[in-house]
Symmetry: C2
Subunit: 446 residues, 2 copies
């Protein structure tokens, strides 16, 4: 398409800085996590009620990038995207016995005809029921991997840490269906590998550990954690034998149950950002999710369940990467990769190179599609806007400052993460960003 | 990215044809609409409970295309994407007086601390409360247009027509905030024009009519309708004077209230696919959504609300465009634009040009990114698969049949909508599709 592309301008961006939390409920906000504080202060999210948040434009841009990364990795393992309904019949959860296990955490809804539903926190029952109520599928059509990215609900006793323990959260959940346990195990490994690739693309150090199956059930479970002091899980990670497990499973905080290692740094706190389960027949059996075998006999499917906390990954990445007053996004998740700061109104540069900021915007937007923001709040000093840009955490800041009036013009580029600055000609600037900026191929739209 | 692209194959596609509706509730399904029947029969959607549906992979692909069209048009009018929480405090709806107006249609939820929420069917209160509880915005920061595309909930007495009157549905809702009524009116016109562009891109004939404001309130309202005999609204559309209004507003089914025209075809049935409201202060006043005026005084914002029924548009487009047994999607919303049918196992062509289907797939996928599906169910005859492809409604069917063994090879391309077939060389085929296929620039991902 050759149409004129819209210019993304800071003056138009809805980013309410330092929002005053006026509503009564918000007074109880427990600002105990860095990510929560930064995301609220910098207008990324806004609390609406305990554990519920408005996702403001910068959050949505970042979520879209994470969604795109996940979608691409899911396409690579032949997983298909669906949407399961939010409302799930309570009776499906009764059939699997789960409703009594997690009762207090479920939001429940009645329809006007007295039908009972839950606001689904996860969709094992819904997915199994889908397979059970379609025309029986032939064994030839498996393995089957269905996933969605959608809002889930959990009535947390004490929502906290902003997006990390919310009542409404965005989760990516995948359900796999296989003909036997051996094939199910192969699928399980395949999905876990895709999750590892996703975390590597995000670029935050993570650990994959053995996890407990809890009320979810099944035979094998793994958890993916970002290491952080505010993490609510304790992880035993043994440097000697490589055993890694949630302490709930390891059973001992003092020594590794495999090799007996008792180093002091055996235990770390982790933020759980992914959890996978090899479920077997726990859901397929009571809900009759079967396939048609060679002799047209109905055989229970072997299921797996694989959750990724999408909104939690966003917050946890900010939690572990940020400075006290400045957000640091993973490069591939920054809402914009590049911000251009134009001269202050009435400055020497303002009159000398008035058109240069927009020219640079067009040039860079042509290369880094939709990744560039123009800070045109020209009543503010360049210094104030550089500070804002660093706080919001854009990876590259391009300043059209005093050296822009030289011949040839030179622009300042601040590489925020490496805390470096360079003065470059226009061509050098494009080359520099092409060589360094992570987001050439992960544009939000094109 | 130069990585090997995944091949989309019919054999792997989760499209449960002719699903048997086993669950008891589904027996009450009122199959009175063509789109509902076709979307269920062809594995596009699957009912989970009355008015709730699983969106299966083909539905999600189509929804993604519609979302992309909407996102692009919204970017063009400088609207910013957000996510409002599904749970809205009941007290916000009490403050605006709406909770009593629509009480029976609201799903209500209590949290474990006895807090009362509704599952939002729309977000005027949530949006106004957001503006009311952030740091007051300067008059310089308006107009402001915030929108989301998300699941909404309405406890319909009698859900029917599949996705057209569901209990959980996907809506795109936009809220505008302006400094005064004149500016709000200009924004209102701008958003309505964007909606008209969206409907033109979708390519279904629509009418924009005057609508009633109902419990939403405000001074001006317009509705966008697809004309269909199953439409639940009656539209008076006068060929003489051009007056167009919902009969609820026109007040008379026999003659045009403006010019007195009493033609027999004055009244048509319409499916409402969009509804816009110039709200004024109905929500901003009770909820204190203000801006800071020049003298730092708080002044109520003038709001507008603009709904687009995303899931309803999908169903309504299928409703008005399809044949009795074959879906016809708007070209830009077809889940795949092109399907390639490979030779039947053991046929002459199968041995002679075995690699040609995949070669054509790679070629066409290179041009029509992610728009091509390979029907590799080679145990089935070509005829059976052409029939399936027509029923599912892919716009272009490419058959690797007997003429593919000639020198040079010729392929059959069926232009489904125009009911034409052509035998073309490989190069001619690419040229033909490039000249005709709508989806070159609206790929789902890239």
């Amino acid at each position: 398409m050759n149409k004129i592309r819209i210019v993304h301008r800071s003056s138009r961006l809805f980013q309410p800085l330092n929002p005053v939390q006026k509503n009564i409920q918000a007074k109880n906000v427990d600002l105990t996590s860095l990510s929560q504080k930064l995301m609220l202060d910098l207008g990324i999210i806004k609390q609406s009620s305990p554990g519920s948040f408005h996702y403001l434009p910068l959050a949505v841009r970042s979520l879209n990038k994470l969604t795109k990364i996940v979608d691409e990795e899911m396409a690579n393992i032949d997983a298909q995207k669906v949407i399961f309904p939010t409302l799930t019949y309570s009776k499906l959860w009764e059939k699997t016995g789960r409703i009594s296990d997690v009762d207090s955490e479920l939001f429940k809804v009645k329809d006007r005809h007295d039908g009972s539903y839950i606001l689904s926190p996860t969709h094992e029952e819904a997915a199994a029921d889908l397979l059970a109520t379609i025309t029986p599928m032939s064994y030839k059509q498996f393995p089957l991997k269905l996933y969605q990215i959608s809002s889930k609900f959990r009535d947390e006793m004490k929502p906290r840490f902003g997006l990390m323990r919310a009542r409404q959260f965005i989760m990516k959940d995948l359900y796999s269906f296989d003909l036997n346990m051996e094939l199910a195990r192969a699928t399980y490994d395949q999905v876990c590998e895709a999750y590892e690739r996703i975390f590597k693309l995000i670029g935050i150090n993570f650990v994959k550990v053995l996890g407990t199956t809890g009320n979810m059930g099944g035979s094998i479970s793994n958890e993916f954690h970002f290491i952080s002091k505010i993490g609510e899980d304790k992880i035993l990670s043994c440097g000697s034998c490589g055993y890694r497990a949630n302490v709930e499973l390891a059973g001992d905080e003092l020594q590794c149950p495999v090799c007996g290692n008792n180093d002091k740094d055996l235990i770390k706190n982790g933020i759980e950002v992914g959890h996978t389960f090899l479920l077997g027949e726990k859901y397929s059996k009571p809900l009759n999710a079967n396939f048609m075998g060679i002799n047209s006999n109905a055989v229970a499917l072997q299921m797996g369940s694989y959750g990724l906390g999408i909104s939690r990954i966003l917050a946890a990445a900010i939690e572990v990467g940020s400075l006290e007053h400045e957000i640091r996004w993973p490069d591939v998740l920054a809402p914009y990769s590049i911000i251009i700061i134009s001269p202050k109104d009435g400055s020497k540069e303002d009159s000398a190179v008035k058109d240069l900021p927009l020219e640079m915007y067009r040039t860079l937007d042509g290369v880094f599609c939709d990744e560039v923001l123009l800070d045109d709040r020209n009543a503010l000093t360049i210094g104030k806007r550089v500070l804002d840009a660093k706080r919001t955490g854009y990876p590259y800041i391009v300043v059209v400052g005093s050296k822009a009036t030289e011949t040839p013009a030179r622009l300042e580029v601040i590489d925020v993460k490496n805390d470096e600055q360079h003065y470059l000609s226009k061509d050098q600037l494009v080359d520099f960003l092409q060589g360094n900026c992570a987001n050439k191929s992960h544009s939000v739209t094109n």
